[in-house]
Subunit: 515 residues, 2 copies
Amino acid sequence: MWRAFLEQAAGAPSVGLAAQIAKLSLGDGAAAANGAAPAAQDGAPLLQAAVKLGSVRAVLEANAARRKPKIAKGTRDFLPAQMTIRRHAFRVIERCFARHGAVAIDTPVFELRETLMGKYGEDSKLIYDLADQGGEILSLRYDLTVPFARYVALNGLGNIKRYHVARVYRRDQPQAARGRFREFFQCDFDIAGAYPPMVPDAEVLKVLVEILSELDIGAFRIKLNHRRILDAMMRVCGVPSNKFRAICSAIDKLDKEPWAAVRTEMVDQKGLAPEAADRIQQFVQEAGEPRALLAKLSAADYPLAADPEAAAALAEMGTLFDLLGSMGNALDSIRFDLSLARGLDYYTGLIYEAVLVPTPGSDANENVGSIAAGGRYDGLVGMFSGKDVPAVGVSIGIERVFAILERRLTAAAKTGGATIRETQTQVLVASPGKGMQLDRIQLAAELWGADIAAEFGYKANPNFKDSLQYADDEGIPFLVILGESEKQEGIVRLKNMQRIAELGSGDALLSKLAA
Amino acid sequence: MWRAFLEQAAGAPSVGLAAQIAKLSLGDGAAAANGAAPAAQDGAPLLQAAVKLGSVRAVLEANAARRKPKIAKGTRDFLPAQMTIRRHAFRVIERCFARHGAVAIDTPVFELRETLMGKYGEDSKLIYDLADQGGEILSLRYDLTVPFARYVALNGLGNIKRYHVARVYRRDQPQAARGRFREFFQCDFDIAGAYPPMVPDAEVLKVLVEILSELDIGAFRIKLNHRRILDAMMRVCGVPSNKFRAICSAIDKLDKEPWAAVRTEMVDQKGLAPEAADRIQQFVQEAGEPRALLAKLSAADYPLAADPEAAAALAEMGTLFDLLGSMGNALDSIRFDLSLARGLDYYTGLIYEAVLVPTPGSDANENVGSIAAGGRYDGLVGMFSGKDVPAVGVSIGIERVFAILERRLTAAAKTGGATIRETQTQVLVASPGKGMQLDRIQLAAELWGADIAAEFGYKANPNFKDSLQYADDEGIPFLVILGESEKQEGIVRLKNMQRIAELGSGDALLSKLAA
């Protein structure tokens, strides 16, 4: 996988490129260009911005800004090499979504605030609001699921299988090293529509398994649970129904906090009876291989047996496991886990979360916790339209994946002596002599016309050694050399940089190339 | 062009797909799946969202939201067919940017408010601010140029050629029919760095010409001017230097308003002497073929002759035209036009704007005005870092392009009997009999494993005629038929939908297929 990616990123030329280039020559245009050389000179004069702006206010503002070129807390720029990695990850993910027949949609980055209210429970406090500048009251989207439900309702859809890759916004405590940002991408795949139980749910999980496998970011595990099993568990434990959501939020913290802390939150902050909390503790320790745990929880002597809701939900889990069993090895990485709660209000059925499994000796930073999550939300569309459209989906939180890919690909490139390519340039047009800029430009324009990515060097007379070094640094596969003698003959010389790189580098390389 | 696009959008199967599919059979898995059929049933029970939410507050909020599923004014959803068209446009544009050796970057959707202040002149009032929720004061980006300058300064870059395709935000009066939104995409290509005069500028214009030609949205014209020629013109006309920016903003409206209205703004609102305004009128009528107008403006008897700044800027224009002349036909669609002013504060040199040329008989809605604009801004990076980095770039406002492409492609598809494909599905797995869902799923999973996009139909027993109709509507090229008899033999039947479509449709088609 790494090898294939690096080769691709390193811009291995497509078959026929060399042939295409070899066919090009300066042709008729050379003479015309020859007579029209501009009086180019190195280094454009640097203009004084403040003087140009011509106003004291602007100067003051410019000075204020100059003190600290900063970006907003919890956000990031994507540098060129990071964009290469991001494109790779998105290509894998979107390819999988499309392979499963999903359409793509997009929605605005902000929604009416009332669209987002009442959907996220305790997390609503993390929503970014826009200032009231007159007109509508707006907020930045917190996830892609609520906008999707709004989209289904607004467009009056009865069913849709869609994906959406876009940024969402949360005023959370950022931890850049662990890939936690306030602005981050989610890659969502959802299926809305009334279908036989668990059929779309199984495909969503299959999609998640395919993507996490193809991204090749290490071993992963998908934890599964069911909101109606959680509800039954809370009923059996004696949790009052008006506390279900609050207790769910507390259980949701079990992957980050020890039981004692969660119990304190339940009892002291949320007013749960201590006996109820202790009964919950017994349940949330149940986790294991899906079919085995299902058998245990479905047994006649298990405390859930008396609850008819639990029986129905457990039957659904059985259906799900059968469906996943027919989809290759989709069940292998899945674990049925009663401690999984998912804090969001809108889930009504199956819920899940994917985590990376730390391997012995792996970088501690790679222990990034949850990288994907989702579930069934049958009531959300109805909150907008009054007409329920059942739906299920998954969000992949790709920032953490980027961080892992970046570390691994950079290391792999270094080991293999390769470069993570930032440009897609296939040809650098270089000339050893002086005064050839218009000729280089004309040749580059011919290459662009043939859909070949080419650069010609902006300096009037680039140093040839610098050109060679640049092509090597950037991983540009071909050098087209155009000097006075080539121009006379109406030809160019083509050098395969990969073969040149095998000869050595620096001055040694230059002398070999000149030979 | 349209034909190629439609064929691609219609998902013409890649070579070897049929062969790949033909090789697949149910194989060993069939028996296993056979024994594990879940008790699937049609139609999942619709859950009552409000009851599940379990709180009066949530019910009230849900009711409030239900009254009006709306999106924010001036924004839009992208529907699946629109996404297909958008992807096509972005592919053309990004391919061109990459062909010219640009790297991709990305920046956050919001910046510190101080980063944006003092950069946009009168347009600053259109900036969206975020609410003050504690912490930093933030605003949504207004364009991609100021964030780019901040990026160059923050990362301490001396040069970079980058592209950036992303959304920007303006609290402007939206006109959806003409492709004017409050949230819209810009496709930006910029070159920062100290280089010989006009070399990067020429490449930026070449990129713009290539993209507008390849998008195939009709004839276009690029208007060029130079801020230092405008400044000289204003000096010669007797405009006081502290009014240069204000008068520039007025001139900028000449493409939408008649001279009389602009003159009123200059004289009555901005306090310009009437004689000065009248002198300006003479200049802003100058427009024409680049080299011809350059010769006229450079003549010894032309009023600009006495201004040394004008002479320098006119010499730069000469250099630019020579460079463009060596880049194929890049100069053909360019017009030198002294009425072009560009309202933004930060331009310091060459400025340009692309407009579509209305053709006789063309749809009035296609007269969308400016679709791209840009220029040189040598002082902007220095406003952040104190160290000037000269830069030049272009923004393509792609929403208007989407609107044109959507109208044309939809019409072309209708005429040609084709579909703008929403999915990329290559195979629909269908079964004529009942009880085959797990088999269909298993086969689809085999196809996914071979990286073939496949759907299996979510209903337990989809009507075969419906499946056929669905494949035809969606433009899915292949139907794989898996019935009881095929399963017994361990084979599938493969139907090429394109060939079937030639036979007819509806019941006639079905009877032919069954034959």
